[in-house]
Symmetry: C2
Subunit: 333 residues, 2 copies
């Protein structure tokens, strides 16, 4: 196992300590409890927004805590859901009297634990709303989910609803926008290589030298099919077509497009995929009005990429463009 | 060779096409000539700043073109210097009447080609100043250089002098600040794995499953020594000590610290290294006043990292903090 780590059991806490050291202007970190909180939380009168999930997907979610995006993030062990106590503590830490939105990727453990945290928070008198992202078109049910998995849309949703929450819109409006973004977004991913969970010490799965996995999940869970290596143009087509069809995107519409790296793929390759995506959508007269190219929701050092498209309207564009200041996304300030 | 590419010979041009598609608000790209130019260049009365080098180090340099950083970047083939014609065309494109600074990483091909371009530009009546970065403390001479290699400091220097140039300071002042930043900065890198140049189709070098290379260059050229795998804390010590000693950093001083990923290393590991670096410098009473953690000067999909420290003064902090708007670095706007 070739990794820049110390003891496998210290990976998450030491990673959080590094985040805190680098970004103490933005965040507080409870390293023991593995919670990243916006430095000025709770913000009075603002609906709080929290998310969380297994570690190993950085910068998601801790890298998205800050003005205009998340108020807190809970980090589980690598590829393992955080526990309800973390989510409850985060919910309490960010409630500014206007309630808290939980953004949950659709994995059974995450969903159950966030549900329990929401009940405990309600018993405390904190209003909680929830949205479950389920944008992955690759499979209907998977190793860790009933229904579709939540993947790339989560990042884009956190940015857009974070922009709305900053205006002190009521929790109900923030939750409604979150639901809309999830409804209007779809993703699909692929892997050229596996990744190795530090505590396991060996690759999660095996892929032959001439093979790739289409429809992979962000924990290396199986996708649609294992096929022979293909060109970037062909791979982009394999990912884009199911997304466009499932979203029923039509000529004349505009999208927010993300080409996301899984962690081990160089940026030049992600731009090659974005070029191919741009050609495919251009051929359908679908406009990429906004975009993001880079590593945003990763699977440790896995090589591969995912494509996410969100059908845009003026409200979503407005809050996508709104200022954001986090470790992982920053503009307008 | 597992890569998201089409034909190896199209990697650079298709990557540039993707960059243009994603960032047309910031840049123009001459895909044929492989030049990325700030969209509003030339800026009247502003010293132009260009850089360039082999591709495969993205986001460097094309990702650093925009307000507050570079005016243009020339992209060579992967790990291969651009040619003088590219540098001359970039120099002409960005000269707003106040001359142009060439930022050159110390590799023999780059240095010779930039020298020739500077002579050709001078014949055109364009004033050119040059700075050669040579911050890599790992080796005194290397496979591709006489003297030290230019690596991580290049990124930080481009940001700082870009900030000064935006104030319309004269070329001589911009060049002097560039020289100062280079003088005050040092770097050292390491690799856990090799990388594969697309046109070669096989790894640049071989590393055993239990080996790493300390002092690696950004093209996979040999470092100081090949040793057994070690912990992140030990590796960080191996990189930091030579940098601190060479810079003669003393207690009470403050630095800009970059923990840079080589392309294939996940962000959580870079934060673990930053945590270790923060402890080491803290133990010496050296303050990290500013920092950067992520993939900024990469070697395709190589796993590994580099550490760069720049001794800061108030002028450097001021221009580091100044607004920047590029694909790879953005703040203050």
């Amino acid at each position: 196992m070739k990794k820049l780590i110390n003891r496998p059991e210290d990976v998450v806490k030491e990673g959080l300590a590094g985040m805190l050291a680098a970004h103490s202007d933005l965040i507080r970190v409870d390293i023991e409890q593995q919670i990243v909180v916006r430095r000025d939380a709770p913000v009075r009168g603002k609906a709080g927004i929290i998310s969380g999930g297994g570690s190993g997907h950085e910068p998601m979610h801790g890298g998205f805590v800050g003005l205009g995006m998340l108020d807190a993030a809970c980090a589980g062990a690598v590829f393992t859901s955080p526990v309800p106590d973390q989510m409850l503590a985060a919910t309490r830490a960010v409630d500014g009297g206007s309630g808290v939105l939980h953004i949950i990727k659709n994995y059974t453990g995450d969903v159950l634990n966030f549900e329990m945290a929401a009940e405990l928070a309600a018993a405390d008198g904190i209003e909680v709303a929830s949205v479950v992202t389920n944008d992955d078109v690759a499979v209907q049910n998977s190793l860790y989910t009933a229904g579709r998995r939540g993947v790339g849309v989560t990042v884009l949703l956190e940015k857009i609803v974070g922009g709305l929450a900053e205006t002190k819109a009521p929790l109900s409006a923030v939750a409604a926008l979150a639901q809309k973004v999830n409804n209007q977004g779809r993703s699909m991913g692929m892997a050229l290589t596996s990744c190795t969970v530090p505590a396991a010490g060996k690759p999660t799965f095996e892929l032959g030298e001439d093979e790739m996995e289409i429809g992979i999940g962000i924990h290396g869970e199986p996708g649609r099919r294992r096929v022979k290596l293909a060109s970037a143009a062909e791979i982009t087509e394999m990912l884009t077509t199911p997304v466009v069809e499932d979203l029923e995107l039509k000529a004349g519409e505009q999208v927010l497009a993300m080409v996301n790296g899984m962690g081990g793929t160089p940026l030049i390759e992600l731009y090659i995929v974005f070029d191919a995506l741009n050609r495919i959508l251009g051929g359908k007269n679908i406009t990429i009005a906004r975009s993001l190219v880079g590593n945003y929701i990763t699977s440790l050092e896995m090589a591969g990429c995912s494509i996410t498209l969100v059908r845009l309207d003026d409200e979503m564009i407005k809050y996508w463009d709104a200022p954001v200041h986090t470790a992982g996304l920053r503009w307008g300030m």
